[in-house]
Structures are given as C-alpha cells and as structure tokens.
Symmetry: C2
Subunit: 570 residues, 2 copies
Amino acid sequence: MRTSQLYLSTLKEAPSEAELLSHKLMLRAGLIKKLGSGLYTWMPLGLRVLRKVEAVVREEMNKAGAQELLMPAVQPAELWQETGRWAVFGPQMLKIKDRHERDFCFGPTHEEVITDIARSELRSYKQLPVNFYQIQTKFRDEIRPRFGVMRAREFVMKDAYSFHANFESLQATYDVMYKTYSNVFTRLGLKFRAVAADTGAIGGSGSHEFHVLADAGEDLLAYCPDSEYAANVELAEALAPATPRGAASEAMRDVDTPKQTLCEDVAKLLGVGIEKTVKACALMTVDGQFVLALLRGDHNLNEVKVSKLDGLGDFRFATDEEIRAHLNCPPGFIGPVGVAANVKVIADRTVAAMNDFICGANKPKFHLAGVNFGRDLPEPAVVADIRNVVAGDPSPDGKGKLELCRGIEVGHIFQLRTKYSEAMNCLFVNESNQQQVMEMGCYGIGVSRIVGAAIEQNYDERGIIWTKGIAPFTIAIVGVGYHKSEAVKAAADQLYAELQAAGVEVLLDDRNERPGVMFADMELIGIPHRITIGDKALAEGMVEYVARAGGEMQKLPLDGLAAKVQQLVS
Amino acid sequence: MRTSQLYLSTLKEAPSEAELLSHKLMLRAGLIKKLGSGLYTWMPLGLRVLRKVEAVVREEMNKAGAQELLMPAVQPAELWQETGRWAVFGPQMLKIKDRHERDFCFGPTHEEVITDIARSELRSYKQLPVNFYQIQTKFRDEIRPRFGVMRAREFVMKDAYSFHANFESLQATYDVMYKTYSNVFTRLGLKFRAVAADTGAIGGSGSHEFHVLADAGEDLLAYCPDSEYAANVELAEALAPATPRGAASEAMRDVDTPKQTLCEDVAKLLGVGIEKTVKACALMTVDGQFVLALLRGDHNLNEVKVSKLDGLGDFRFATDEEIRAHLNCPPGFIGPVGVAANVKVIADRTVAAMNDFICGANKPKFHLAGVNFGRDLPEPAVVADIRNVVAGDPSPDGKGKLELCRGIEVGHIFQLRTKYSEAMNCLFVNESNQQQVMEMGCYGIGVSRIVGAAIEQNYDERGIIWTKGIAPFTIAIVGVGYHKSEAVKAAADQLYAELQAAGVEVLLDDRNERPGVMFADMELIGIPHRITIGDKALAEGMVEYVARAGGEMQKLPLDGLAAKVQQLVS
C-alpha cells in the first residue's frame, strides 16, 4: 500500500487523557480514536493490526479443531436467569429493554447462549467433544474505563466453549487449548507466561491465565526464566530452604530497641542483615484462636496461603487490643518466645530453618537476639508456606530461580465442569443410553487488548516497535525526494512492486513530506523494517536499510535488492 | 474439510415459525439457529457463507480505494441529538442507559459517528475525498422481525461514508460505488438490478437501490431484460404510445350496463378487449378542485406520479358524496363526457391516444361506447404519465420492453449532500482558505441479508443451490462405503488431497452414513459440484460427477481426475 492511499493521521502529542504508554502511542499513531468513555474507533491502520491478531487466533483455533460460529451480541435475559447470573453479574452487564419492554443485555460473555445451543443441538455422546468459538465485539460496562483498548467497555474477544461426555475429554481439550494459546502468543512474537489461576469461588478445577509480560501489567507474577514455570505471586509456592537449620551458636539475649519496631530498623541498629530477623503477625481465627505467624523480616505474609491452613479459613488480623491481651505487649515488639499455651505459633518454612535469629521480646522497646527453636521456645506447632515468593527464590519446578515481573492478562482458559450445563439442563445420552450432564470448558482471548499489551512490551522513545506477527506492514520504503527525483521514484516504485509481488506487506511512503517527517511517522507507527532511497546513495547504486528494533544502518546494493530485503524481513 | 470435522446439523423439516423459503432452507441446512425474535446464531457452515459474502464486499471496496475502519457498536446519544435523529429515529433504535444513566444506542447506522470522526480528522481539502467503510453488526428493533436473516433485528451490514470538498467529487465517488456494487453482486453470481430510488423526504439528489431479483421480494420492480434499466414500479415512467390517436370511426352511444361497474365486466359484457375501456378516478386537491383522472381500464393509478402534478400535491380520493355532488351519478358509472366546467379532466398518456373508447356515462347503469376526444368531449386539460407501468410497456431508455419482477433490497447508495455535515458542523478549509461544509455520500450493503436473498434466487425442491461466489465449499466428495472399501477410501482421500493442494475448497463427506443421507445433505446445503466415488464405478476406473444446478450425471476417469475436476468447477 502507498501512504497516499492510507488514511494516516499521526500526532506529535497524545491527548492528555491517556495515562498508559500504549494508550498514548495508539492515539499518537492514529490507530484508534476515542468516541466516548471506553469506546474507540479502530482507524484503518489500527484495524489492520487488530485483524492480524484476529487472523493468528483464528488460524490456531481452526488448527486445534475448534469451529467458528457467530452468536448474537444481544442476548435475552431469560437464559441468564436460568443460571442466576442475571441477578449477580452486576453493573458491568449492559442491560437493555427492547421496544416490547423485554429484557436483554449486550453480551459480556456467552456461556448461557452457547449452552442453550448445545442443549438443543448435541444429543448424543457421538457428537462430543465439540469446541465452538467466535471472535466478537463484547461490552462490559467498566466503572472506570481506562488505558485505551486495554480496559475499554467495548472490545473484541475470542471466546470458545467446549462440550464433553466426560472429564477426561475436557482435560484433553483443555490441554490442546493450553498449547493453542501458547502457539498464538508465540506466533504473535510476544513474551508471555501461562499462569496457574486460583479457580476460587467459581469452582471447577483447572484454570490458567496467559499474561503478556510488561511493566505496566496489573498483575505481579513469579516466573522462572529457565523453564515454563509461572504463577501469580499470590499463588507461587515458596519452597523450604535447601540447607537445614544450623545449630544454635549464640546465647539468647535482650537487645535494646527503643524506637525500632520494624525488622529492617532493628537489623540496621544491630548491624546485621535483615535475613537474621523474624517478624510475628498476630492473627485471629474464626474460632477465636490467637495465632502468631512467623516470617523472615524481609518476607511478606501471603493471606491466600494462610487461609488454606487448617482452622485458618476466613482468619483476620488481630486488633491491637487482642495483641495486648494475649502477649501483654504492644505491637512492634511481639515475638514467639515465652508465649502462653493458648497462642498458636505457625512458622514459615524459611523461619523454621533459621537459627540464632532476632525477634520481638514481648517487652516494649526490646527484641531478643540469638533465639533458637527447641532451646528458647518450642518447635513451631505448624510449619508451612505462608509467604509471598521473592526474586531469587528457587523455582517450585526445581529448574532455576524465580524472578518477578508484571503481566497483562490476555487469555484465560477454564475447566467449567458442569456449572452451566447443570443449571441449564444441558444433557446428552451416553453410551449406556443414559442421560448425563455435559462437561464444559471455556477459553477466552482479549483480541483487542493484545494490541495494547504488545505495545507495552515493545516500544521506545520514538514509538511502537511491532513484532513480525502483528505489524500492519512488514517494511516501509521511504523515498527521499520521491516527488523530485526520477531516479528515486523509479527505484522506490520498482522495489515496491517487486516486494508486493513476492507477498511482502510493504508500505511505500510516497507523501510529499520532509524526510524527517516520514522517518518519524514510520518509526512512530512501528513498521519493523525500513528501506530509505535517496539520490546520494543511489548514485553509488545503494540504498539504506535499518531495522526498527535497533541496530546499525546498512547499505544494500540496488542489484538484487528485493531478494536481499526478503531475506532480511523473514 | 471433512464432514467429520465440520459441525453439520441438517433437519428434514423446518421449524413451523419459518414462512419464507430461504428461512426454511437456512434452518434445515443448519446455517443459522434462532436465539430469540430476530436474533440468529450463524452456525459454522452458515458463517462460512457469510464470510464469503463479506470477503467479496471487502475486496471490492478496497479495490475502489475505500478504507476499512471499525466504529463502536454502542453510540452516545449526544451525537444523535446534534442531528435531531435521537428524537425522530423511532422505536427501531435500541436505546440503552449505561451504569451512570447516560444515554446510548446500539448503532442502527453510523452517519453521526463517522461525521464526528470526519469533523475532527479532516481539516483540509487536501485530505479529501475519503471513503471510510466498516463491516459490522447492527441492530434495528423491527416491530415484527421475520424471514430469518432477511429481516432480523441483529444483522451484519457494510456501511461506507464518503466526504468531499464539492458535489462533483461526491458524484465521482458515487459513480465508483455504483460500479463497485455492480461488481460485488456480479461476483456473487446474483441476478440483480440497480434501481433509481425516490430520495423523497431525506433530500439529496441521487440514490439507487440494488435489488436481488427473486419472487419473494417485497418490492415490485420494472426492468428491461435488454438493458440495465430498472426502477421501482412506482417510479418507472410509462411512455406515451408510439402510434398516435386514430380517427373517430364510431358514433357515441349509450350502452346498457345494469350491474357492470368495473371495466373488465363492461368489456366482457360488450365482447370487446379491456384496452377499449377507460376508467375515471375521482380525486380532490387540497384546494378543493374536483379532478377526474382517466386511465385505460387495465391500468392502475400511480399516486406518486399524480402527486407530482401541478396542484395535485397531497391530493386525496374523492368521497362518494363528492362524486355525486359533482357528477350527479354514483361511483361505478362516472366518466369524463359532459362534465361541468369546474371538473378538471387529466388523461393518462395512453388514454390520450385512444379513440372510439368506452367509459362511464355519468348515468346509473349506463356506459358510453364510441367516445372520442375533441368530438364528444374536450381534449383533456392535462395529459401526463399517471399510471403504473405494466409488463410489455416500452422501456423508458428505448431499448426494449419492460418486464415486472420482485426484488429484495440488498444495497443502497445515497448522495447525502450536506444533511449531516451541516447539522454537525463538519467543515474543511478549501483552496481559498475558507471554511466550507463537506459533501457526503453513504453506501450500505446488507451483508447477512444477501445470504437469504441468494437462496431465494437459487434453490430447488432438494435445497439450496449456491452460486460459485457464495458457496461454503466448491465441491463435495461423497465416498459410498468410505468406511468399508479400502479402494473407495483411497480414491476419495487422494482426490481430496489433490484438490485441497490445488486450492479448491472441497468437503469430503467421510461420515458413516447411508449414501442417500449423504447425497441429500450435500444437496440441501447446496454444494455446487459433487463427485461420487463407489466400488462399482471404481472397478471400471471411473467416478461420477454431477452439478448441483442440474444436468446429467457424467462418468469421469480416475486418471487425471483432479485436473479434470478443476476444469469443471472453474
């Protein structure tokens, strides 16, 4: 395509409303245009990018044997009432009344509609399994839409739903979808991680989120650079230290800590590392049991992990009054030594392996040093993983050390099991001629969100740097003096024609603009490769090549140019 | 694709709700599935068809230099309030309130949104003209949705909007769009006509509707088989007869017509052709002028044409009382002879060329025969085209005779001029550095409706007959005994692989079903070509070929089969 035929509209400055970098760049590059809060028009260049993502998703879904269909965006309330979600989905659902005052919604998701289709279409185990998907505009009425297409109200989603005669079949399709999602993000050229998700309230057993790794992500992830391991930091397991607890070598003694209530301040005062300190978090169980949870001074309590311990479900933090009542000491100086028998001590795995440590003395303005389990206090009642992992922790899969990063959730796969099929009476006849409830899985990809996430991962101060799988065009040709120099025009037109004929997606910048404007635009809109054709280099039979992602400008001979360029871009 | 991988769900009987043939066949072939009134899911096979139509539309629009974008489906009320259409669009618009009680609608069309984009994006004449389009799901809350996808509430539309510095530019793009639409429908293999439309109330000067010709169409069209001429029957011009009026040869006389009030009955009684009779329609102008409009007995009054005559705007039919008051005669026997000077006589062009005709005598139970203008009554005050054309009338372009047919409107192009740009202050700076209002055009295609219309035009008692441009697959291979005969399986698999490699869209029916079931399904879903592979013919080194549209079964040799099949389908 030629820029003269492409509606291109770049801005020097992003509108002030944009906070996130990808949002700013998408507005500056003219990919999107705001219509209203959380509502964006995909302008021609932006739509090209969106369609690239769509195409990769579609191809990989088809390869996986999923079948595309297209359900209505507008859905009748009756189906949502069957599952009870009409009442509980909340204000994110855009509810509508039609001219006859009947209730509908603009579909935020399609479990109910597809289950309605399945229960009337799928009658026999012979028709199972089947995996239907669609790529469609959805609406979720976010209370505070922001970040452009990353958290828009109207967005494009790929949603797939599979139906099965048994759990094994669901698991098999789930595994295929896991692999398919990995293929999608790999083809799109994105750094990503599949993360085990907490299935929590919704039930079901298996669930993974797919995150594009980027600093702007809303989720904090732990991952292992040497393996595929990744988890939300809340869910990553902190292993017990590899080396066992050392022997006690110091005597326990009071240390004066007049103003030091935080471990880091105590360690500083005593001139030791914070990893010699232990902090105690005071908790209350629903049964009224007072609990001290012990963590190394530089570690943080993981409430999800604690709440999964016996008796700790729905625990809360103890109040200052409860702490004084049980330990006769104000917060800031509490510890596990000398506590009454009704105080339960739970130690994190790391703490359980510590010796000669420092902790609160249960005496205002004092800590204890040289403390050792077994000698100065009993072994902890419970030893468990109750902390968030930190960078450098061993990876739970034993394959290296964990690092932390932020992630943008762009995909989610989920074993729904029979949550919807049971509520909606979605039955099939099994091999024994018995009616049975179908097993279900669902698999979503935020197609439009991927565009924003890809930018968050790939940009520099000059603009977007598209990966090969997403770029609206593979290469830009900038003719410097295209409208003045016959030679430049001829060389540019020839290369353009040859690359097009070879199936390379090429954008020829044939605008009558200053070279600086053309370079800046091609960089801002992120075209991965650029050939510059100008009279000076042409005189030597050369043109210039540069990759958007960086690297030196190279001179390439005109002779055999198209073939050479094809090599460079492939 | 193999049927084992395609969700195929055919029905012997269509659900009783379906009235129209295309609707029945789409349900029976499993192309769509009803979710609610006017809401349909496009099942995998149906979506393949819809995407074929979309692809042709997209390719032709791109060829025409239009640029695809994607606007939000949900639109803020404010823009519609600027043009006043929020109040006047009526209950077809699905209005929505978001969580903050702000007003939105599910876009039934996008003039307001695109004009909002244009007024902020397009500043200079240098950026004009530009033609933006999208292919998108729209919603119109029809009071009585019916005919499946032909009049659904949620539907897929291609809507394009062009912006221009002057009217000449608009006309040029309009002509390109006219040609583009013709290309689209030609490529889709449909018999269609572009029909000049009445721009009526909306203003603007040029407008054409594109109709697919089919008996089920809601519009009655007049067209010339020997030229491109077509018009809504209401608008087609009835030319004056080529032969001038003959001389009077009979004496005027009363004829006794005791019960005959209709021309056909009078003609029958008198044993003459109805084309010898003239009927008089009594009209009243808004100024109270009593008018007799004369038509040949077998012609019908065209109210649109009459209303365009001087003084006849907003005319109405006269009441029985008014007829008696002016003619002293009851309806059924009225005529133009001997009427008072305050009765205005308007003759259709055909009537003005008649001699020796028969008409009412203004005397109960009597008609007059042998009536001649000039001799028995004055020449008519006005001679004009005031009738609907009939089959056999000369085509207004002088290229043949008109025929009548019914049409399904699938496209509409429209010169909007400045209706929206003026209301929304959509300005640009012209070459003289002056602000000026843009000229606009809009161009719609009912993408999903085309699927239904194509079926209305192409079917038989066995099902759908897809044209080449729309068919979900070009050819079906049916292996008779595929699961029992190694030879059948081998031959079928080989042909399938060879055709796929050659880029032919082929569906291999590898189900373990009776041949009759497979044949019936392939016919019902309308695959244009079919190869049957069975042991008997294979023994002679042959397979069988038949075209869905009809024609004899042919035997084709296995040797060189794929190449031969490619010839047949191309």
